[in-house]
Amino acid sequence: MIGDALDGARIAVTGATGFLGTALVERLLRSVPGCQLVLLIRPGRRTPALERARREVFRNDCFDRLRAQLGDGFDAEIERRVTVIGGDVATDGLGLDDEGRGRLASCDVVMHVAAAVSFDSPLDAAVEVNLLGPPRVAAVLADAGSKAHLVAVSTAYVAGTRRGRSPEALLADTPFAIEVSWRGEVDAARRARGDVDAASRAPERLAGFAKRARSELGAAGPPLLAERLEKLRLEWVTDTMVDAGRARAKGLGWPDVYAYTKALGERALLDACTEGGVAFTIVRPSIIESALAEPRAGWIRGFRMAEPVIISYGRGLLKQFPGIPEGVVDVIPVDLVVAALIAVAARGPNPAGPDVFQVASGARNPLRYRRLVNLVQGWFREHPLYDSEGQPIVVPEWSFPGRGRVQRQLLRTTRALSAAERVITSLPIRGRQAELSSRFEERRSEAERALGYVQLYGAYAETEAVFDVDRLLALWSSLPPEDQAVFGFDPGVIDWPHYVRNVHLPSIVANSRVRTTAGRKTGASRQERGRRAVLSPARHLAAFDLENTLIASNVVESYAWLATRHLPMDERVQFTLRTLREGPALLALDRRDRGDFLRHFYRRYEGAPAEQLFSDSWEMFSSLILARSFPSGIRRIRRHRALGHRTVLITGALDFVIAPLRPLFDDIVCASLGQDAEGRLTGELLAGPPTGEARTLAMASYAEAEGLRLEESVAYADSASDLPMLEAVGFPVAVNPEAKLATIARKRGWHVEHWARAPGFAKHRLPIGPLLRSGAHGVPKRYPMYSRAEGGDR
């Protein structure tokens, strides 16, 4: 009896926060009431191991059943039976202190479940966890003189992409063993990380990152660009390491870095155990999917392999997935794997030497690819997902194309979409048109994801290996009927149509947050929810950019207006032509650096009479600023004020230009020019222009001085150069965003507003001051010198 064998046993489990580990812990607690558990959990950056266990293990819905059984006694039961020790399988000695080491060594069974299960991990990360993890556990046990039985979870795919039968035997004993030194692989992987990192710092590569950062963010200011550059560099290093892993795995005959590192991990484990005299058993499951029955049918954790592929198919995004129709997709429900692991633990180590169990369905109860596709297709036809308009999505017919064709197709799509995206991003458009680019971006990333799935998982639908389960079945037969009733792991019992249609698909659809009901969404739309969040009484500060956020105008226009106000007609024409000629150069400078642009541009005000400009700017307020304002924007400022929020205008425009807007704002941060003794403007800024990161600083210091928190603040802006300001607050709003910002806003789920000028009002007019008639009649005569004799202008 398993229960008896493990009664009073101390069982250590690594990887308890993962899919298989959580199920294993739950099952041990529920079905083996006599055992004690020691969980080795890696402390999070901020959460200690114990807290992680509470949050990520015991709060999982996997424990709902046990919680219901125990009622209020649940926490006490956990307290009594579970010990958590902090440690990390990716470091030598598992990062354990003496106490932890003692706890682990005192165990009767150590179940090593922890793994980097992602198929596209970077080479070195996979090596540290999957290859070096098992020998590290063995070494700790050996050093402490522990007599524990080490049960290591591997994968059936260590057999690689070979055809034919794959026996339950140590790799060295199989016909397709590859002679590579695992130590050599470890050294190479670690060296590769250093090399790639060095390569990423080469000047020409850094220049490439800088160029990309600028094209993504525009003139967002040096700190943000630097931050983005570093992120791009790290991403490049990771991507290159992922590529290195994939290439090395493929080169040696494994489908991916996961199987490759797992396979070498088995070898390393053998070496370590042999050396340290540790008794061990290897358990190799195939593709683990949702539970057949325990703790409940359909339980699954995470969303990794078949799940995203299936959901993408259901959403109509993945039109094809390569595979061999008669090939076997080796899927095994998680509860069968858990039961097998517990049975192995109860049996104890094989005195004749280490042995291997494979937990797979292919040999005993194969699920063919064509059958799986038919089941999935049929299910989605009956239970379609719905698009954003509430219409059912019809799933595509699958024609079982080769992998190459699908990849080529997807690659073409991806390239076309990113070309279109590049064109749109470089156009000077904003608002709804600019959102087109973010839609392209979304479509492209969907296509890229589909391509990724095909590249990553394609091999698993093409596998022609058959995993032997003779030893597993022998173990099964050796169990008494009572154990067989509780710990079922015979793959023969799986009824595939039932499992796929009634267990797995409903479960992953429910887990994936897709629309499963027809009709338009009821309740508040996304737009309304965003607006409500922004206008909640809990907010307390709203910061506004000016140009293209509140008015469709800019510093060049206001300058032109003021400069031409007192010019006669012929000089106006000259001025306009001159300004138009300079246009492209100014635009380019503005795109490069907003602060430099303002400094450069404001020089033009040098020598201008300050008082005249100040009084003219009141006229400009009506004829330019208000005429080009967005009424909805003005209304929004007033809404914030009515709600008791502080309102702040942060703009690079000049103080006298925006003075008439003063009543809308509690505070204004803007640019001001110096004056000389004769009251003429110097054309030099009194302080740095409030652009880019200077805006963030201005906001932060304002908030601090006023005792406000930026997390509860709202910022409205229209361009990527305002990113620092938008990122600084808790509630950023992109107003009429230009293409770059539209893309960023969509990615980050920021609220977007489309504010337009008053409808029906004249759109295109040169920003020049209205022609004045004063002066045309000579020096005006002051009443009472007004006399009849001067009449005659009728």
Binding site: F621, P770, R782
Partner: protein, 528 residues
């Protein structure tokens, strides 16, 4: 000798009728048996307006001395004048105001009066631009006064510029321009386009603040003014008269000058607008076709600027000066003489085509609220006796009613349309729930004072102007309007007049009586 207005009974031989449709025109064939109310033809203009003005100033009516006798050296003289809302459309230069004010200034200069200030009597209207002031007053007056701050526009929100004169016996606050109230003489220069204008309303409304205006610019007053074109049945006027008499009793002296214009409203190339359709000659037909075809192909904005460029040829038909009430009685008589058309009996369905202009969108955009106000406020009230349409009848308007607003002139209108009308169209509820917030909103006040915006409360007045019609009518249908904008105001949109008549039959039954008010040019229906 001009022909009086008259009522045509439509029969089989009647040609299609010309309808205004904003900046466009439409021909509509009316059902047989419909009536068309035509305005009288323009009366003869004064041959020598300057002489007539001088004559009026020297020979005042009522209890008033001639103007020269009222002007003395060292006195404070304030000359107030109607703003850009009058006349409609703006008249060709020289404007009547320029003629009158130059005449007044000549007398003042002769008398050696130094302290003269001109005030544009805006009440809560937008400020006039320099160009508009120059047009109304002439460059000579503008250049002589404006640079020295002696040409001003009323700022009813400047607490230092207003003076509270106590309350009337009905408890109505009287608060007018301090400069005017503290002057030795106010000369008020009117252009009386319709019977509503002038009288005590000139000073009591034109120079007043919100505090004072709210006593007669409200829903209750509007419901009791039947109509406000008929001073003796208008609560709007009763209140203004009480205030006017209170002002006079406070010792403030007003020398009232009122002028009427003839109804020669449109220039030569729009002459067909002033002819009766069956009298159109080949030239009228040709210009109509050319004008309306090309307008249909003109973008709305361009069409708007073409129409707002119209300077009307109307000319002074009468001028009278002196004591307010005596002057106004004469003016009203003159207006009635040139505008009254006798109509017998009310109608089930009243239909009208609305033009591109109302008093509040000169050089601006006719937004949906102004469309409603022009139709339900002004044209509906162009009656004496009984409304043209019976109680429970249907009003069919023709206007494109675009969802368009002038961001500088009408900022509070935009918010009124977006926020207030989205919630309710009931004037009583609007007045109770929203008026104060808009009227005291500091941003609107800022815009009214420093920019060219109508006061925050102004859209409310526009809606109150409709209150009498809204309570009287069984339904309002707008033909050819922006569907969303029309619905927002609680009206029904129709694509053709035929459809509108069909829809109206749900309210007034089959075979209703139909009357078409053929205006502008303006008329006043004397419904017996």
């Amino acid at each position: 000798m001009s022909r009086p207005g008259f009522v045509l009974d439509v029969d089989r031989s009647t040609p299609p009728m010309l309808f205004w449709h904003g900046e466009k025109f439409r021909l509509e064939r009316l059902p047989e048996g419909s009536r068309v109310v035509y305005p009288p033809e323009p009366v003869e203009a004064l041959a020598d307006p300057d002489a007539a003005i001088r004559h009026a100033l020297l020979n005042p009516v009522g209890d008033s001395a001639p103007l020269p006798a009222l002007l003395k050296a060292g006195m404070r003289l304030t000359i107030c004048f109607d703003d850009v809302s009058l006349p409609l459309p703006p008249m060709r230069r020289p404007d009547v105001r320029q003629r009158v004010i130059e005449a007044v200034l000549d007398l003042a200069a002769d008398a050696g009066v130094d302290d003269v200030v001109l005030i544009a009597a805006l009440a809560l209207h937008r400020r006039m631009t320099e160009a508009e002031l120059r047009h109304a007053l002439g460059d000579r007056v503008y250049d002589a006064f404006a640079p020295f701050g002696q040409l001003t526009q009323l700022d009813a929100e400047d607490p230092d510029a207003m003076l509270h004169l106590g309350t009337t016996d009905q408890g109505e606050d009287v608060e007018i321009s301090k400069r005017a109230a503290t002057s030795d003489l106010i000369v008020y220069v009117n252009i009386n386009l319709v019977a509503m204008d002038g009288g005590h309303k000139s000073v009591a409304t034109g120079l007043a603040s919100y505090r004072s205006l709210k006593h007669h610019h409200n829903v209750a007053t509007m419901l009791q003014s039947r109509s406000f074109m008929d001073q003796h049945r208008s609560e709007l006027h009763s209140s203004n008269w009480r205030m006017g008499r209170h002002i006079a009793a406070s010792g403030i002296k007003v020398f009232q000058i009122e002028t009427t214009l003839n109804t020669d409203t449109f220039p030569e190339h729009f002459a067909f607008l002033q002819r009766r359709e069956w009298e159109w000659g080949p030239k009228d037909r040709a210009t109509f076709l050319a004008v309306s075809r090309s307008l249909d192909r003109t973008p709305a904005r361009l069409a708007r600027s073409i129409f707002h460029g119209i300077r009307s040829p109307h000319q002074m038909a009468s001028v009278q000066a002196g004591e307010v009430e005596a002057v106004h009685a004469l003016t009203t008589e003159n207006l009635y003489r040139q505008q009254l058309v006798e109509v017998s009996g009310q109608t089930d369905v009243l239909t009208m085509g609305l033009p591109y202009i109302s008093p509040y969108n000169v050089n601006s955009i006719m937004n949906p609220i102004l469309v409603a106000c022009l139709g339900l406020g002004y044209f509906f009230n162009l009656y004496r006796g009984k409304p043209l349409v019976r109680e429970g009848g249907v009003l069919i308007l023709r206007h494109p009613t675009p969802w368009a607003f002038h961001p500088v002139h009408h900022p509070s209108y935009i918010d009124f349309f977006e926020e207030v009308l989205a919630e309710t169209t009931d004037p009583v509820k609007i007045e109770a729930d929203f008026e104060e917030r808009f009227a005291t909103d500091p941003w609107y006040i800022h815009l009214y004072r420093t920019s060219y915006a109508y006061h925050g409360v102004h859209p409310f007045y526009m809606w109150y102007w409709c209150a009498h019609a809204l309570s009287h009518l069984g339904g309002v249908i707008v033909v050819g309007g922006d569907v969303k904008a029309v619905r927002r105001m609680g009206f029904k949109p129709a694509s053709t007049l035929q459809d509108a008549l069909e829809m109206a039959s749900d309210v007034v039954g089959r075979d209703p009586s139909i009357t078409y008010l053929h205006a502008p040019p303006l008329l006043l229906a004397d419904v017996r």
